[in-house]
């Protein structure tokens, strides 16, 4: 940082400072770097949060490989695949919302945020249908759990991990959609343009991170048993 006196260099003390510049920052750029770094610190905690579950998955799966493959085989790969595409699409529209802000296309910001919300909601609806299928087949861990295989108690561990991991992922999406709704409202009010769009940037980081979690969940949960044949779901 420059060592010149604050009173001379601080934009808040000049006549025309940006309305979105908080007083503790010297410049909008510094403010943006701070919020990006702060979001990344949060995402590091998220990496460890989901990481613990991925680790549990690796440990249990390496112990019970056959039961995990058999349980995975009952998942609906088509629905999972469609949801993967939907989520990747929502990451694209999220990135385009930020692009729209950068090129000062305010209507575009609202449009792309609403598209992101729509795709995120589509994902959750598909997920809800999948969960219903699990309840119908008694694949939900608990007293009513049933599994047509040699080691149902090991398959039950797979389904416990399936519900915790996808459930936690879906919870993150619900929170993300709520935040995107607020951002869409502010964008509609004209709060964001090329000079200031930090909330879009950091929410985008969160949204893409949730996408990355799914990028790993899809092969690990759905594709694991895809090579097995017979015994359709």
């Amino acid at each position: 940082m420059a060592s010149s006196p604050i009173a001379e260099t601080h934009p808040a003390n000049t006549a025309h400072h940006h309305p979105s510049l908080q007083h503790q920052f010297d410049t909008l750029e510094q403010q943006k770097e701070s919020s990006t770094l702060g979001m990344w610190i949060f995402l590091v905690t998220e990496i460890m949060f989901f990481g613990g579950l991925f680790l549990a998955y690796v440990v249990y799966r390496s112990t019970y490989p056959q039961a995990f493959a058999a349980a995975s085989h009952t998942l609906n790969v088509l629905m999972g695949g469609i949801n993967t595409a939907v989520l990747i699409g929502s990451s694209l529209t999220m990135a385009l919302a930020i692009w729209a802000a950068q090129v000062n296309w305010r209507k575009g910001i609202v449009l792309f945020l609403l598209l992101t919300i729509a795709l995120g909601s589509t994902f959750l609806v598909v997920k809800a249908f999948e969960y219903r299928e699990k309840f119908e087949h008694h694949h939900v861990p608990g007293p009513n759990f049933e599994f047509d295989g040699p080691q149902p108690e090991h398959a039950e561990i797979y389904f416990s991990l399936y519900f915790i991991m996808t459930g936690l992922h879906a919870t993150h999406m619900v929170i993300g959609i709520a935040i995107l709704g607020v951002l869409a409202w502010f964008a509609y009010k004209g709060k964001y343009d090329s000079s200031y769009y930090n909330p879009l940037e950091v929410t985008g980081l969160y949204w893409h991170f949730v996408d990355i979690v799914w990028i790993f969940l899809f092969p690990l949960l759905y594709l694991l048993g895809a090579h097995l044949h017979g015994a359709a779901h």
Partner: protein
């Protein structure tokens, strides 16, 4: 303000690449390759994650501090998985609690 605007076509190209990789990982999973199935699936997943991190999450335009923070997160995840597996894979499944039916 030093602005780096990723052009629209770059985002769309990354999106297309992610879709193709999803299709490839799904196709490869249909074939029983033994342990190689996991190697292929994880290689593709890591590639997809890197595409998202680099382009969608703007790491290519981020400060070194931010890139270092992101790397630290994944590095610590690696430590956690590596050290835990050292234990489980050498001492067997006797360490695992299993729910009774």
């Amino acid at each position: 303000m030093a602005e780096h605007i990723t052009p629209k076509r770059t985002y769309i190209a990354v999106f297309a690449a992610l879709l193709v990789l999803t299709l490839v990982t799904w196709l490869v999973a249909q074939v029983d390759l033994g342990w190689a199935n996991d190697v292929v699936a994880l290689t593709i997943a890591v590639t997809k994650a890197l595409l998202v991190l680099w382009f969608f999450m703007h790491l290519r335009y981020s400060t070194r501090m931010t890139v270092l923070t992101a790397l630290a997160g994944f590095f610590w995840l690696g430590i956690m998985i590596f050290l835990t597996l050292n234990d489980y894979l050498t001492r067997g499944s006797s360490l695992l609690p299993v729910m009774g039916k």
